[in-house]
């Protein structure tokens, strides 16, 4: 629930990439948002609309890809997708699991418009 500040971090990284590659504009940004990241995709999208104004990313398309929670079972060894609040192994019901994905917030892809100047 600190989407506005996160979005600012995100934009900072994206704009740095844009400058580094002398982009004319940022065309697309893809972020992976885990179900247990503590980040609400709707709020992040809204925050982005505010933060991007007047930047290289003003016209950028923000794609938020939800990442489901996946756990590895230490009992039967099987990896499965689970709901956010039910992380036991759905196969053998063991509570001894480790999360392999679902709490991440990752800047996955940036599309830059780098037309010759």
């Amino acid at each position: 629930m600190h989407e506005l500040s996160l979005c600012d971090d995100l934009l900072g990284q994206v704009l740095a990439l844009g400058r580094q590659h002398q982009a004319r504009s940022i065309v697309g940004i893809t972020v992976h948002v885990g179900g247990l990241s503590g980040v609400e995709p709707m709020l992040l999208a809204t925050a982005f609309e505010i933060c991007r104004v007047g930047t290289l990313a003003e016209q950028a398309r923000l794609v938020l890809e939800p990442i489901p929670v996946r756990v590895h079972c230490n009992h039967c060894g099987i990896e499965s997708e689970t709901p956010n609040n039910h992380l036991q192994c759905p196969v053998c019901q063991s509570p001894d699991t480790d999360m392999v994905s679902g709490d991440e917030l990752i800047l996955a892809r940036v599309e830059l418009d780098t037309a010759c100047v």
């Binding site: 900072g12 990439l17 709020l43 104004v53 509570p95 892809r109």
Partner: protein, 282 residues
């Protein structure tokens, strides 16, 4: 609600917020840019301060009114003479909680956050430089009563303790998984009220936490029954012992925060999109 959150931006007020932002965004972007990953850097700096003084820092989180301050009062009375305690209190308004602690002869620093519904590492840093950390054993940080935002902010502390009072319902971990997964210890509080509540089951509360694949210990206590605080007091002594051992090995401890201080990590894959110059476009 909260300025750093975005939780105050609703579909209703969004056009206004948007209109307020100046079009020459450059300077504005610079202003906004000092929040979350900066929070994590600040948190590491705070932890270094704490570790230099050998103090164990425990972050107490819960819904409003679950009994954080009452537990601190009871704990201070029990530890008088054995451990040296100080407290940082976080509240939106009032210095009431700090006054309650000070009344017991213990140093308490009140942070009033105004609009922010959580503490962050900068607020805590500001407080810690106004406190004397020498000879302290345990510093408690009582976070703002809220089961959402505080889970996402590392303060530089070592342990997260989350209270769930028996009047809140035993399904809270299922409803707030991000918060409860951050627990190093869950305390079921106000157990003196259990006889009056027919639908709160400590077992179900614990099961609800286990459903999050959390191995954090669960203890039951009541601030109104100091004779039953032993398990909690023992946990504190153990945590301090573990912490001091770690420090002797030049290691520190980090709380079970949801994301291991990695924000927006991972390699971004770059796709460069060749766009034809305007003049040559068909």
């Amino acid at each position: 609600m909260c300025n750093t959150c975005g939780c105050s931006i609703t579909p209703g007020n969004r056009p206004l917020v948007l209109a307020e932002k100046p079009r020459d965004g450059v300077s504005t972007v610079t202003v906004l840019k000092n929040l979350s990953s900066k929070n994590d850097r600040q948190a590491e700096h705070n932890r270094a301060h704490f570790d230099r003084h050998g103090v164990l820092v425990v972050n107490l989180m819960s819904s409003p009114g679950s009994g954080k301050t009452a537990l601190l009062e009871a704990t201070i009375k029990r530890l008088a003479g054995s451990l040296k305690i100080a407290v940082i209190e976080g509240d939106l308004e009032t210095e009431n909680d700090a006054r309650r602690i000070q009344a017991l002869g213990v140093t308490a620093f009140q942070i009033t956050t105004g609009t922010a519904c959580h503490l962050d590492a900068h607020l805590v840093h500001n407080a810690l430089h106004q406190m004397d950390l020498t000879n302290l054993d345990v510093l408690f940080i009582e976070n703002v009563g809220n089961l959402v935002c505080p889970a996402s902010f590392d303060l530089g502390h070592h342990r997260n303790v989350i209270l769930l009072s028996v009047t809140e319902g035993d399904d809270k971990p299922a409803k707030y998984p991000v918060m409860f997964r951050a627990a190093d210890l869950m305390l079921i509080s106000k157990t003196d009220l259990l006889p009056y509540l027919d639908d709160f089951s400590p077992n179900r509360a614990q099961q609800s936490l286990r459903n999050l694949a959390s191995k954090a210990p669960v203890l039951e206590l009541s601030a109104h029954q100091p004779q039953n605080l032993d398990v909690w007091i023992n946990w504190l002594h153990d945590a301090l012992k573990t912490h001091r051992r770690q420090l002797a090995n030049h290691q520190t401890q980090r709380p079970a925060i949801a994301r291991d201080d990695v924000l927006l990590h991972g390699e971004a894959s770059l796709r460069l999109r060749p766009v034809m110059p305007e003049s040559t476009r068909p």
